[in-house]
Symmetry: C2
Subunit: 123 residues, 2 copies
Protein backbone atom coordinates (compact mmCIF):
# COMPACT_ATOMS: atom_id res chain seq x y z
CA UNK A 1 0.00 0.00 0.00
CA UNK A 2 1.54 3.20 -1.32
CA UNK A 3 0.99 6.63 0.25
CA UNK A 4 2.08 10.21 -0.35
CA UNK A 5 3.33 12.80 2.15
CA UNK A 6 3.44 16.42 1.00
CA UNK A 7 6.11 18.18 3.07
CA UNK A 8 6.12 21.97 3.45
CA UNK A 9 8.36 24.26 5.49
CA UNK A 10 5.73 25.31 8.01
CA UNK A 11 4.97 28.86 9.18
CA UNK A 12 4.17 30.75 12.38
CA UNK A 13 1.18 32.02 10.41
CA UNK A 14 -1.57 29.46 10.70
CA UNK A 15 -3.19 30.59 7.42
CA UNK A 16 -0.04 29.55 5.51
CA UNK A 17 -0.16 26.08 7.07
CA UNK A 18 -3.85 25.84 6.21
CA UNK A 19 -3.01 26.59 2.57
CA UNK A 20 -0.75 23.53 2.60
CA UNK A 21 -3.47 21.39 4.17
CA UNK A 22 -5.92 22.55 1.49
CA UNK A 23 -3.43 21.73 -1.27
CA UNK A 24 -2.89 18.27 0.22
CA UNK A 25 -6.66 17.71 0.14
CA UNK A 26 -6.86 18.69 -3.53
CA UNK A 27 -3.80 16.57 -4.28
CA UNK A 28 -5.37 13.58 -2.51
CA UNK A 29 -8.27 13.63 -4.98
CA UNK A 30 -5.94 13.99 -7.95
CA UNK A 31 -3.75 10.98 -7.04
CA UNK A 32 -6.16 8.67 -5.23
CA UNK A 33 -5.90 6.03 -7.96
CA UNK A 34 -2.17 5.93 -7.37
CA UNK A 35 -1.69 6.64 -3.66
CA UNK A 36 -4.02 5.09 -1.14
CA UNK A 37 -3.48 7.93 1.37
CA UNK A 38 -2.19 11.48 0.97
CA UNK A 39 -1.26 13.59 3.99
CA UNK A 40 0.87 16.65 4.68
CA UNK A 41 3.58 17.37 7.23
CA UNK A 42 5.87 20.25 8.13
CA UNK A 43 9.62 20.61 8.53
CA UNK A 44 9.25 23.09 11.38
CA UNK A 45 6.92 25.60 13.10
CA UNK A 46 3.78 23.51 12.48
CA UNK A 47 2.37 20.03 13.03
CA UNK A 48 2.41 17.20 12.21
CA UNK A 49 6.19 16.92 11.91
CA UNK A 50 7.68 14.79 9.12
CA UNK A 51 8.24 11.77 11.44
CA UNK A 52 4.69 12.11 12.77
CA UNK A 53 3.32 12.27 9.22
CA UNK A 54 5.28 9.21 8.10
CA UNK A 55 4.31 7.22 11.20
CA UNK A 56 0.65 8.09 10.71
CA UNK A 57 0.83 6.62 7.19
CA UNK A 58 2.64 3.50 8.46
CA UNK A 59 0.07 2.98 11.22
CA UNK A 60 -2.66 3.20 8.58
CA UNK A 61 -1.03 0.31 6.72
CA UNK A 62 1.32 1.97 4.19
CA UNK A 63 4.42 -0.01 3.26
CA UNK A 64 5.64 2.45 0.63
CA UNK A 65 5.76 6.21 1.17
CA UNK A 66 6.71 8.95 -1.27
CA UNK A 67 7.77 12.21 0.37
CA UNK A 68 7.08 15.20 -1.90
CA UNK A 69 8.81 18.46 -0.87
CA UNK A 70 6.67 21.54 -1.45
CA UNK A 71 9.72 23.80 -1.80
CA UNK A 72 10.90 26.08 -4.59
CA UNK A 73 14.65 25.94 -4.26
CA UNK A 74 17.37 23.52 -3.25
CA UNK A 75 18.47 25.19 -0.06
CA UNK A 76 19.72 23.51 3.09
CA UNK A 77 16.19 22.28 3.86
CA UNK A 78 16.08 20.26 0.67
CA UNK A 79 19.70 19.21 0.62
CA UNK A 80 20.14 18.30 4.28
CA UNK A 81 17.17 18.71 6.60
CA UNK A 82 14.41 16.79 4.83
CA UNK A 83 16.68 13.86 3.76
CA UNK A 84 18.22 13.71 7.25
CA UNK A 85 14.82 13.42 8.92
CA UNK A 86 13.53 10.87 6.41
CA UNK A 87 16.66 8.75 6.80
CA UNK A 88 16.27 8.74 10.58
CA UNK A 89 12.70 7.52 10.28
CA UNK A 90 13.79 5.00 7.63
CA UNK A 91 16.31 3.53 10.10
CA UNK A 92 13.45 2.98 12.52
CA UNK A 93 11.27 1.26 9.88
CA UNK A 94 13.61 -0.71 7.60
CA UNK A 95 10.76 -2.64 5.98
CA UNK A 96 8.95 0.47 4.73
CA UNK A 97 10.09 1.82 1.37
CA UNK A 98 10.57 5.61 1.58
CA UNK A 99 11.41 7.74 -1.46
CA UNK A 100 11.95 11.50 -1.62
CA UNK A 101 10.49 12.98 -4.81
CA UNK A 102 12.04 15.97 -6.63
CA UNK A 103 11.00 19.24 -5.01
CA UNK A 104 8.42 21.36 -6.79
CA UNK A 105 10.83 24.01 -8.10
CA UNK A 106 13.03 21.34 -9.66
CA UNK A 107 10.41 20.40 -12.25
CA UNK A 108 10.64 22.21 -15.58
CA UNK A 109 6.86 22.43 -15.69
CA UNK A 110 6.97 25.07 -12.97
CA UNK A 111 8.07 27.40 -15.79
CA UNK A 112 4.96 26.52 -17.82
CA UNK A 113 2.82 27.31 -14.79
CA UNK A 114 4.56 30.68 -14.26
CA UNK A 115 4.04 31.45 -17.96
CA UNK A 116 0.32 30.60 -17.66
CA UNK A 117 -0.14 32.80 -14.60
CA UNK A 118 1.70 35.74 -16.15
CA UNK A 119 -0.33 35.58 -19.36
CA UNK A 120 -3.67 35.34 -17.54
CA UNK A 121 -2.87 38.59 -15.72
CA UNK A 122 -2.18 40.51 -18.87
CA UNK A 123 -4.20 38.90 -21.66
CA UNK B 1 5.87 47.86 -24.11
CA UNK B 2 5.00 45.19 -21.57
CA UNK B 3 7.57 43.40 -19.37
CA UNK B 4 7.59 40.73 -16.68
CA UNK B 5 9.47 40.69 -13.35
CA UNK B 6 9.71 37.36 -11.52
CA UNK B 7 10.14 38.12 -7.81
CA UNK B 8 11.62 35.55 -5.42
CA UNK B 9 12.45 35.78 -1.75
CA UNK B 10 16.23 35.64 -2.14
CA UNK B 11 18.66 33.48 -0.20
CA UNK B 12 22.08 33.71 1.46
CA UNK B 13 22.87 30.65 -0.65
CA UNK B 14 23.95 31.84 -4.07
CA UNK B 15 22.90 28.55 -5.72
CA UNK B 16 19.27 29.20 -4.72
CA UNK B 17 19.38 32.65 -6.31
CA UNK B 18 20.94 31.15 -9.43
CA UNK B 19 18.02 28.71 -9.66
CA UNK B 20 15.68 31.71 -9.82
CA UNK B 21 17.81 33.36 -12.50
CA UNK B 22 17.72 30.13 -14.52
CA UNK B 23 13.93 29.89 -14.18
CA UNK B 24 13.60 33.52 -15.31
CA UNK B 25 15.66 32.69 -18.41
CA UNK B 26 13.43 29.73 -19.26
CA UNK B 27 10.34 31.83 -18.56
CA UNK B 28 11.64 34.59 -20.84
CA UNK B 29 11.63 32.18 -23.79
CA UNK B 30 8.14 30.90 -22.93
CA UNK B 31 6.54 34.36 -22.79
CA UNK B 32 8.58 36.36 -25.27
CA UNK B 33 5.61 36.81 -27.60
CA UNK B 34 3.72 38.41 -24.75
CA UNK B 35 6.35 40.22 -22.69
CA UNK B 36 9.13 42.14 -24.40
CA UNK B 37 11.51 41.67 -21.45
CA UNK B 38 11.56 39.21 -18.55
CA UNK B 39 13.86 39.72 -15.56
CA UNK B 40 14.01 38.54 -11.97
CA UNK B 41 14.44 40.38 -8.67
CA UNK B 42 14.62 39.52 -4.97
CA UNK B 43 12.73 40.68 -1.91
CA UNK B 44 15.83 40.41 0.29
CA UNK B 45 19.29 38.81 0.68
CA UNK B 46 20.07 39.01 -3.06
CA UNK B 47 20.25 41.45 -5.93
CA UNK B 48 18.72 43.07 -7.88
CA UNK B 49 16.11 44.32 -5.41
CA UNK B 50 12.51 44.72 -6.56
CA UNK B 51 12.89 48.52 -7.12
CA UNK B 52 16.14 47.92 -9.05
CA UNK B 53 14.44 45.25 -11.19
CA UNK B 54 11.47 47.49 -11.97
CA UNK B 55 13.68 50.49 -12.77
CA UNK B 56 15.83 48.40 -15.08
CA UNK B 57 12.70 47.45 -17.05
CA UNK B 58 11.53 51.08 -17.15
CA UNK B 59 14.94 52.29 -18.35
CA UNK B 60 14.76 49.69 -21.13
CA UNK B 61 11.50 51.26 -22.31
CA UNK B 62 8.76 49.28 -20.51
CA UNK B 63 5.57 51.19 -19.75
CA UNK B 64 3.68 48.21 -18.34
CA UNK B 65 5.20 45.79 -15.83
CA UNK B 66 3.70 42.60 -14.38
CA UNK B 67 5.29 41.49 -11.10
CA UNK B 68 4.99 37.71 -10.63
CA UNK B 69 5.73 36.45 -7.08
CA UNK B 70 7.60 33.14 -7.01
CA UNK B 71 6.19 32.24 -3.59
CA UNK B 72 4.17 29.27 -2.37
CA UNK B 73 2.07 30.77 0.41
CA UNK B 74 0.38 34.03 1.28
CA UNK B 75 2.56 35.03 4.22
CA UNK B 76 3.56 38.54 5.21
CA UNK B 77 5.88 38.79 2.21
CA UNK B 78 2.98 38.36 -0.20
CA UNK B 79 0.40 40.28 1.79
CA UNK B 80 2.51 43.24 2.87
CA UNK B 81 6.14 43.36 1.76
CA UNK B 82 5.92 42.86 -2.01
CA UNK B 83 2.84 45.11 -2.47
CA UNK B 84 4.39 47.78 -0.22
CA UNK B 85 7.58 47.90 -2.26
CA UNK B 86 5.74 47.88 -5.60
CA UNK B 87 3.43 50.69 -4.45
CA UNK B 88 6.43 52.81 -3.40
CA UNK B 89 7.99 52.40 -6.83
CA UNK B 90 4.61 53.05 -8.47
CA UNK B 91 4.40 56.41 -6.64
CA UNK B 92 7.72 57.36 -8.19
CA UNK B 93 6.60 56.34 -11.71
CA UNK B 94 2.89 57.21 -11.97
CA UNK B 95 2.83 56.76 -15.76
CA UNK B 96 4.02 53.16 -15.67
CA UNK B 97 1.31 50.53 -15.23
CA UNK B 98 2.37 48.01 -12.57
CA UNK B 99 0.32 44.89 -11.76
CA UNK B 100 1.06 42.19 -9.19
CA UNK B 101 0.09 38.74 -10.49
CA UNK B 102 -1.22 35.94 -8.23
CA UNK B 103 1.64 34.14 -6.48
CA UNK B 104 2.58 30.69 -7.73
CA UNK B 105 1.00 28.71 -4.86
CA UNK B 106 -2.32 30.48 -5.40
CA UNK B 107 -2.90 28.82 -8.77
CA UNK B 108 -4.90 25.57 -8.71
CA UNK B 109 -2.60 24.15 -11.36
CA UNK B 110 0.15 23.82 -8.76
CA UNK B 111 -1.83 20.78 -7.57
CA UNK B 112 -1.68 19.24 -11.05
CA UNK B 113 2.06 19.77 -11.09
CA UNK B 114 2.48 18.13 -7.66
CA UNK B 115 0.35 15.21 -8.87
CA UNK B 116 2.57 14.84 -11.97
CA UNK B 117 5.77 14.88 -9.92
CA UNK B 118 4.45 12.35 -7.39
CA UNK B 119 3.32 9.93 -10.10
CA UNK B 120 6.59 10.13 -12.03
CA UNK B 121 8.46 9.04 -8.89
CA UNK B 122 6.37 5.98 -8.36
CA UNK B 123 5.08 4.93 -11.77
Amino acid sequence: MKSLLLVAHGSRRQASNSEVTAIAQLLRKRVEGHYRLTECAFLELAEPSIPEGIEKLIEAGSNEIVILPYFLSAGRHIQEDVPGIVHSVQDKYPNIKMTIAPYLGEDDKVVDLLADISMQVSA
